[in-house]
């Protein structure tokens, strides 16, 4: 690291995120908040784990981390030297900023702090060997999203949207951000596509229909799933019991099982396609 400059601190510039023991790193993103991205991430993660895969979830929503509560994890990660060992539940390891800040404390950070915290966070977690690491991205296209899509070795991204036009508009922005940094978009998940009546199990279309398939065909990417809103999903989230664990036989759980299979197939297309380059000049 000595190349003769008093100001040089070795290889500087943005710190690289290296995750050599993880086969697939998949970002779960949405253009806007409130589309159920965290719910989709957790249920997808647990459905992937049910196929026998080793799965981790990183809650990258550093301003409003909600995954520990939704997964029902109360124990904090253990420190192992400089590394942090994530707690595990239902076969899924979870790391969240929520473990590091008090529940009622707000995280008020400027962009550069977000970047530093996320990079350090990603580099210090002791995931072990994983087949899939899902990154629950914060909504929007700001600093955190850029840090991850620019610096993490992403296999691809999944975009979660609701069927309404306003959500689609933001989903398009999210899509374009990934396209700009050449991260493959594995597909779109349309969430809250209709409402499951708890009395008759019939599905009522409460929003406009077909938005997910429209954006998918417009951007030439697959529509991976269309998931109806089931009150049991929200209830499960609040109780820390995701629907694919709490109500395995529900229609929504079956959709997640299929989604997991489709994500595995899509990720396989791009797996290993990313090989970081490095050249030291002589």
């Amino acid at each position: 690291m000595s190349h003769g400059h008093s100001h040089a601190k070795g290889p500087t510039g943005p710190q690289k995120i290296s995750l050599p023991r993880i086969r697939n790193v998949i970002a779960v993103a949405s253009g806007k908040g409130g589309v159920g991205k965290s719910t989709v991430t957790i249920n997808l993660g647990m459905s992937l784990a049910k196929t026998g895969a080793k799965v981790g979830i990183l809650d990258a929503d550093i301003y409003g981390p909600s995954l520990p509560m939704m997964m029902g994890i109360n124990q904090r990660p253990e420190a192992k030297g400089e590394r942090v060992v994530p707690p595990q539940k239902d076969g899924v390891k979870l790391m969240s900023m929520g473990f590091l800040v008090e529940e009622k404390q707000a995280v008020v950070w400027r962009g550069p702090m977000v970047h530093g915290a996320l990079t350090q966070f990603l580099n210090q977690v002791e995931w072990g060997d994983l087949d899939y690491l899902l990154i629950d991205m914060p909504p929007g296209t700001g600093d955190a999203q850029l840090t991850i899509s620019q610096n993490a070795p992403l296999t691809g991204a999944i975009i979660v949207t609701t069927p309404q036009e306003i959500s689609l508009l933001d989903a398009r922005r999210g899509l374009m951000m990934f396209q700009n940094v050449k991260v493959p978009v594995l597909g779109v998940v349309e969430n809250m596509a209709g409402f499951v009546c708890s009395h008759c199990n019939g599905v009522t279309k409460i929003f406009r229909q077909g938005g997910g398939s429209r954006i998918a065909s417009e951007m030439n990417i697959p529509l991976l799933a269309s998931i109806p809103l089931d009150p049991a999903v929200a209830e499960g989230g609040d109780k820390g019991l995701p629907i694919v664990i709490g109500n395995k036989d529900s229609e929504v759980s079956k959709i997640y099982t299929q989604l997991a299979k489709d994500v595995i197939a899509q990720a396989a297309i791009y797996e290993g396609g990313f090989r970081p380059l490095r050249l030291e000049w002589k």
Binding site: H3, H5, H7, A8, P11, T12, G13, P14, K16, S149, Q150, N151, A152, P153, L154, N180, V181, K182, V183, G273, F274, R275, P276, L277, R278, L279, E280, W281, K282
Partner: protein, 105 residues
């Protein structure tokens, strides 16, 4: 389906960089030209895109120290003059190719 990406970096003598792309094209660059083409906010005005960097301020023998990937879409170069904020997206980098075929086009 797959986007343009560099698959191999090679030092070609003291002052040339070779890049092999996923479409099999072989590019060659004079490293000083790459330094002068830096599009970071210190070298190019972010609003007007006017060049701020003065070529005479860059040492004639400027060389990379380390070249690394940025995600899937770009390279970042640390230079012997201490500069390291420039990111070279693959599309832009390819457009700068100095091989005889690309120069003619």
């Amino acid at each position: 389906m797959s986007a343009l990406a560099a698959v191999e970096l090679r030092q070609m003598g003291p002052s040339n960089l070779g890049i092999i792309w996923n479409d099999k094209h072989n590019s060659i660059y004079s490293v000083r030209n790459l330094r002068l083409e830096c599009k970071c906010a210190n070298c190019v005005d972010e609003w007007t895109r006017a060049k701020i960097l003065k070529p005479e301020s860059v040492p004639a023998d400027v060389k990379p120290v380390l070249i690394e990937s940025v995600g899937r879409y770009a390279l970042q170069i640390q230079w012997s003059d201490g500069h390291n904020t420039g990111i070279y997206p693959f599309d832009a980098l390819r457009a700068l190719c100095e091989c005889p075929t690309c120069k003619k086009a």
